[in-house]
């Protein structure tokens, strides 16, 4: 049964109800007390997001300082329920401009009630596209979504658009200047052993799009992925161009992309929603260019001293540079005194996360930097268990670089009025979970 929820609760960290909505009669009105008693106030909190208490199941997520709890009593679709929560939070954020937390909920509770009534009926998720809902659910006090847009009045055929085949775009949009912004954002996930061999490495990327296009445009996106290029060559019966191609392990698309067409022709074609959205996500494991190499040496000298030496090498193009590079080197809890030497950037000891934090604001390509530190420890008696060394973690951003090598080859826009479009493309690579064991 695709039911996703019988009731939904928004609680603060103390367990006070901020918002609650009962969708079905099969759970009691006070089930949230059971959640408070059996999950929030016990060690269970955070050990498992799906729990059964009595005849009911509780599915919960924490988002900033709010717990969102879904209660069901039937064999509900859990994936659907969690995804609904994620999407609903995105919707609320889009309505109240950014933050989603306890204050935002209290300040907008009327609106949230109204949205909850609209986006789920009898436990079945309905349309959650912000773009469409904003056509007819508007509230004073919230950010007015249409103030900068051409047509300001509620569209009379809103209901057709909610249910329409293009349920994510409204009709009759007009822009003086037609523009599309593409952001290719990649996160590199790395797990490297202490000996420097790569245990796991992958890139999860997403293409974020911001569209300011008039009318009902049809878009087609071309990337330098191997299968797409081969298929294209095959369709046009000419040999594939040489050059760097990449192999995508998996792609998932926004609901606007025609999946059947992608399956048969390997082209990404779609009618985009207006404004900002995530067009696609992809995953790559082969041929990843790691932007940084980290070489740590950690020596424990007796029981009270450690010598730490970390060398970081940038291996991307010399003309590029990384921003906001942070290297976190864990040290034992009983660290008493630290001293550093760095070739660039600043390092300090952060006791709250038990780590040495080394920050380099700008890190040019094809260079290297080192930090050496001496750590003195308070000697503790009877400390039998040796210190388990958590991995070194790294954060960075490298603009105009993709770890996967993905490039946008073209973005075509067709609209019956035949206007010209300006396209902007940016690339950026960030650290996902970039861990080096030591």
């Amino acid at each position: 049964m695709p039911v996703a929820a019988s009731a939904i609760y928004f609680l603060n960290l103390r367990g006070d109800v901020l918002i609650n909505r009962l969708y079905r009669d099969d759970v009691g009105g006070n089930m949230v007390d059971a959640f408070r008693m059996h999950i929030m106030q016990t060690k269970e909190l955070g050990t498992c997001p799906v729990r059964q208490i009595g005849g009911c199941s509780f599915l919960y997520m924490r988002i900033s300082n709010v717990y969102i709890v879904i209660v069901v009593s039937s064999n509900a679709n859990v994936a659907c329920a969690f995804k609904f929560v994620v999407e609903a939070v995105a919707l609320f954020k889009s309505y109240f401009g950014g933050a989603f937390d306890e204050d935002a909920i209290r300040n907008n509770f009327v609106l949230i009630y109204e949205l909850l009534d609209e986006i789920m009926d009898f436990g079945y998720p309905q349309n959650l596209s912000p773009e469409i809902l904003k056509l007819y659910i508007t509230q004073e006090g919230v950010r007015s979504p249409f103030s900068s847009k051409p047509s300001d009045k509620p569209v009379p055929n809103a209901t057709l658009q909610v249910t329409g085949a293009v349920g994510w775009r409204r009709e009759g949009l007009m822009y003086k200047k037609n523009e599309v912004f593409l952001d290719i954002v990649e996160s590199v996930n790395l797990l490297m052993s202490s000996k420097g061999s790569v245990l796991r490495c992958d890139v999860t990327g997403k293409i974020l799009m911001k569209c300011f296009l008039s009318g009902m445009p049809d878009l087609k996106l071309g990337l330098n992925d191997k299968i797409g290029l081969e298929k294209e060559a095959q369709l046009k019966s000419r040999p594939a161009k040489s050059g760097k191609t990449i192999e995508l392990d998996d792609v998932t698309f926004h609901q606007c992309v025609n999946l059947t067409r992608f399956n048969s022709e390997k082209t990404v074609s779609f009618v985009p929603p207006d404004g900002e959205f995530e067009l696609m996500k992809y995953r790559i494991t082969e041929g990843v260019n790691l932007p940084f190499r980290v070489l740590p040496t950690i020596k424990e000298l007796g029981r009270t001293r450690m010598e730490i030496n970390v060398k970081v090498k940038s291996v991307f193009g010399a003309k590029m540079f990384a921003l906001g590079v942070v290297v976190k080197v864990p040290v034992p809890k009983q660290t008493a005194k630290t001293s550093f030497q760095t070739t660039s950037g600043k390092a300090k000891y952060n006791a709250s996360i038990d780590s040495l934090v080394w920050k380099i604001r700008k890190f040019p390509g094809q260079t290297e930097a080192t930090m050496s530190a001496e750590v003195e420890l308070i000697s503790t008696m009877g400390e039998k268990k040796s210190w388990n060394r958590p991995p070194i973690q790294m954060e960075f951003q490298v603009p105009m670089f993709t770890a996967s090598g993905l490039r946008v080859r073209f973005l075509k826009v067709w609209e019956k009025s035949g206007y010209n479009t300006v396209e902007w493309v940016r690339y950026i690579t960030r650290a996902g979970s970039y861990e080096i064991r030591c």
Partner: protein
């Protein structure tokens, strides 16, 4: 910029309700709207604003859509508690359902469907009929769901009014969202009906597959989930379905992906072409892996499902083991599930890498995770014969780190490895023995002892090693005692010398004479008998070759697995239990629970010695009888004449009681223990009760035979509390059709039964006319709670602190409700559970109480409950651990 609604929460002045009432009736629109917002805010924080019902409903007729929605929200919450007033709203609803604005039409039916009040439901039918045929798809899609709501309230009405047919017509609607909602509604109705209502034919199948391409992501989930019930006719049709569904694997919505995977896996069963199957497996792997980059909660759902999928089709993810390596910052529930899948995917090809990972995890911080990692190494050793040696060397390395719980866990798994590969790795025993002193967990100890016993022949100092354990034999937990007994037995059979002989003698003595554990005693007797009569036979039995164990990492049996795979993405697949195991069709009715509590509280009071007075006043006895819990229909109908003092009183009063009320019970009905069908017409009801510090057996005889019964006698079998009759049973000859009730004084600790404590009380009753009747009763421990059980705060605290932590036990009583602290305290005090202190822990109350049973065994009690919410947590500390189970039984019945 954002809203400022928080101001509506801040009005907590004294006269809030009257003030709101005034504002709701204000002539100014804005003021009314603000007032309704305040009402909703109060409702959200849990205040009762139902008294404002009429005033709020008066605001319903408004042009302002926002205000209207708020009033509707209020109605959904309170209509049920004010069914008579709810009718006031009907006119507006019906009018709204014909509004020119489709949003208002839809809102009206949607809200009406949520109000479960008969009067509203009656008026819903006509608007619903219209809305199902509305021109606007938004109204139709709302009406479709509304049919499911109505079916839940009144299934007959839906069938009589032909809504099912209308709903089926919507499957052919030209709007994909209407189709999707109609499918969801039909699937739900089918779920709660035994008749076939929604059957997918090949015709509807193709319609649904077409709609799949056009509807919203959620609509795709509804359609995919109902398609998963469709059984394809042959391989060709299955391939066709799969082909149409496969593109969904690329969807960004995890629910769409999982539902698509579910259908593909189901249809694959029918597909015969191995190429197609291989190809499908290849296509499913990447989307499944991608789910692991979603939010941790979704990852968890995905991992639980992947766990099932790899059991069915291990090839799908055989090459993807790396993606299941744990990240340092993964939440613990993700790590645990990843570990489980890694074990399942471990193979000779990747075992080296996997072992390195496990070893890494075994040095992490979280103890549970570390233990699981160590256990994982052992399971891999058992699963992969060629890798066993490498696994063992990793385990030995871990043992050398000397982290206590790692060592213990390692020893537990090594025992299993020895069983899997007998006579292969005994060389490591010496290393294991080095850690002997550090073992303090029963399972680890038992495992080590098993190893020593099993290989006693080869371990030179096996006798010394075992002897070191024997010193503490009486204090060891049962698990360790059993292993010690067996190991000593093995040692003696392998080395029948003087030392081992003395050891076995000591152990057998101890295990037969000084223990009250029946398992241990019986095993000891068997060994003893074997050893003394036929040592050769003993060898055959004790040293018999054991069957080789196998890998348990694919635990689910195949029919359950198929059942779960058909439920991918649902709770069932997360719990790994079939839906029947956790979904009860019975609706929860918390209000009924409250009433039940009130009932028992009242009957609880009338249990007090003043019951004679109760029976005397007709009004109060009528009150009591109407409050007798319906769940005990077996209550004896005729009142029993009471002996002793009370009897006089009753007799006198009986004469004044009007004749039409002869059935007023003289006390709470007693549970029937011997039904008249078994007793050839004699019915016996009885219960142990405590009156004025004395235990009585409150017993009632009901003569349904044709003859006079006399000469009643009673006897009790040996029992845990040694209860026996403290005097003769005094029942006068019983005329046919009459009954007698008496209080038999009881004495405790007369005929004690050995063995584990149990609440069983076996009773035998005879009379001169009939054979002896045997029946079983339960001893409620609270009958033993003494009047001297009250403790002072300080002595309670001292006693609490002085008891070790493993004397603390706790249990949940999920169905018990505390509706008021004072009532509960009073009620418990009547049963000699004394209140000591209470404190408030956020919304819950924590009560500290004490009770004492004879021989000075105290119970220190901590009750945790939220007022009015089902579920009471009871923690208890007591020096006598064995009584704890009985204690919980007693508390649960007291708190019922």
């Amino acid at each position: 910029m954002s809203g400022h609604d928080s101001k509506y929460f801040s009005t907590t002045k004294k006269g809030e309700i009257p003030e709101l009432k005034e504002e709701l009736n204000s002539q100014y629109k804005d003021k009314r709207k603000d007032a309704v917002k305040k009402v909703i805010a109060a409702m959200t924080v849990g205040k009762d604003v139902s008294s404002l019902f009429t005033d709020v409903v008066n605001c319903m007729q408004t042009e302002n859509l926002e205000l209207k929605k708020l009033v509707y929200l209020y109605l959904i919450n309170y209509a049920k508690s004010q069914p008579d007033l709810a009718i006031l709203a009907v006119n507006t609803f019906v009018k709204d359902s014909q509004d020119p604005n489709p949003l208002i039409r839809a809102l009206a039916v949607r809200t009406m469907g949520c109000i479960r009040v008969d009067k509203i439901t009656e008026y819903l039918c006509d608007p619903l009929q219209r809305c199902l045929k509305d021109d606007d798809p938004y109204v139709r899609k709302t009406a479709a769901i509304c049919v499911a709501k109505l079916y839940d309230i009144n299934a007959e009405l839906v069938e009589d009014r032909g809504f099912l047919e209308a709903l089926k017509d919507l499957i052919s609607d030209n709007n994909p969202m209407v189709v999707a909602n109609a499918v969801a509604a039909l699937a739900e109705i089918q779920d709660s009906s035994t008749r076939p209502i929604f059957e997918i034919t090949s015709h509807t199948l193709s319609k649904l597959l077409t709609a799949l391409n056009e509807c919203t992501e959620w609509g795709q989930v509804f359609i995919l989930d109902s398609l998963s019930r469709y059984k394809a006719a042959d391989a060709r049709e299955a391939e066709n379905i799969v082909e149409r569904v496969t593109p969904r694997l690329q969807h960004a919505n995890c629910a769409v992906v999982l539902s698509a995977v579910k259908i593909i896996l189901l249809q694959m069963e029918l597909i015969t072409s191995t190429d197609v199957v291989r190809n499908l497996c290849k296509k499913m792997a990447p989307p499944l892996v991608t789910l692991l980059s979603a939010e941790p909660e979704i990852q968890y759902v995905a991992l639980r499902n992947i766990n099932l999928i790899v059991q069915k089709r291990p090839t799908i993810l055989a090459h993807e083991i790396k993606v299941f390596f744990c990240k340092y910052n993964d939440p613990i529930y993700v790590k645990m599930e990843k570990l489980e899948i890694m074990i399942k995917l471990a193979s000779d090809r990747n075992i080296d890498q996997v072992l390195l990972e496990f070893k890494e995890y075994a040095t992490e911080v979280d103890v549970d995770f570390v233990r699981k990692a160590v256990r994982a190494i052992g399971r891999c050793a058992i699963k992969l014969e060629r890798a066993a040696e490498r696994c063992i060397s990793v385990l030995l390395e871990l043992i050398k780190i000397k982290v206590n719980y790692v060592v213990q866990e390692a020893i537990i798994v090594i025992k299993d490895i020895f069983r899997r590969y007998p006579n292969t790795y005994e060389s490591i025993i010496a290393t294991l023995c080095e850690s002997l002193d550090t073992l303090d967990e029963p399972e680890a100890k038992a495992s080590m002892i098993w190893i020593i016993g099993e290989y006693a022949e080869r371990i030179d100092n096996a006798d010394e090693l075992l002897e070191s354990f024997l010193e503490t034999f009486p204090e060891e937990p049962a698990l360790v005692q059993l292993q010690l007994l067996t190991a000593t037995g093995k040692l003696f059979l392998e080395k029948p010398t003087e030392g081992p002989q003395q050891m076995i003698q000591a152990v057998l003595n101890n295990a037969t004479v000084e223990t009250d554990n029946p398992d241990l005693r019986d095993r000891a007797y068997i060994y003893w008998r074997l050893l003394s009569t036929d040592p050769e036979a003993a060898k055959d039995v004790v040293l018999a070759e054991k069957p080789v164990i196998s890998d348990d990492s694919n635990q689910l049996d195949s029919s359950l697995l198929d059942d779960l795979l058909a439920n991918i993405s649902t709770l069932s697949s997360v719990y790994h239990k079939p839906p029947e195991a956790f979904v009860s069709r019975v609706k929860t009715a918390p209000r009924a629970d409250d009433e039940e509590f009130a009932d028992t509280a009242e009957t609880g009071y009338s249990e007090s010695p003043s019951q004679g007075v109760d029976g005397a006043s007709p009004s109060s006895s009528a009150g009591t009888s109407s409050n007798v819990p319906v769940k005990q229909p077996a209550a004896p109908a005729a009142p029993a004449p009471m002996p002793d003092l009370l009897g006089d009183l009753m007799g006198m009063d009986n004469s004044i009681v009007p004749v039409d009320e002869p059935t007023a019970p003289s006390g709470p009905p007693l549970p029937v223990l011997l039904p008249s069908t078994t007793g050839q017409g004699l019915q016996i009801s009885a219960q142990l009760v405590r009156r004025d510090g004395q235990i009585f057996y409150d017993i009632s005889f009901d003569n349904g035979t044709q003859t006079v019964l006399d000469g009643f006698m009673i006897q009790f079998n040996k029992n845990t509390f040694g209860l026996a009759a403290g005097g003769a049973l005094q029942v006068s000859p019983l005329q046919p059709g009459t009954s007698a009730r008496t209080l038999l004084p009881m004495v405790a600790f007369q005929n004690l039964s050995p063995g584990a404590p149990s609440s069983l009380l076996q009773v035998a009753v005879k009379n001169n006319q009939q054979p002896v009747w045997y029946f079983n009763d339960k001893i409620p421990m609270h009958a033993f709670f003494g009047e001297d059980g009250k403790m002072e705060r300080t002595s309670f605290l001292e006693a609490w602190k002085s008891l070790p932590d493993d004397n603390e036990f706790s249990k949940e009583f999920p169905s018990s409700v505390v509706s008021s602290i004072d009532a509960t305290v009073e009620h418990l005090a009547a049963s000699n559970v004394f209140f000591i202190a209470k404190r408030k822990n956020s919304n819950k109350d924590v009560l500290y109480m004490s009770a004492k049973i004879p021989r000075g065994i105290p119970f220190l009690i901590e009750l945790t409950a939220a007022v009015g919410v089902p579920g009471v947590k009871c923690a208890v500390k007591t020096p006598n651990k064995e009584m704890v189970a009985l204690f919980f039984e007693a508390m649960e019945s007291l708190l019922k």
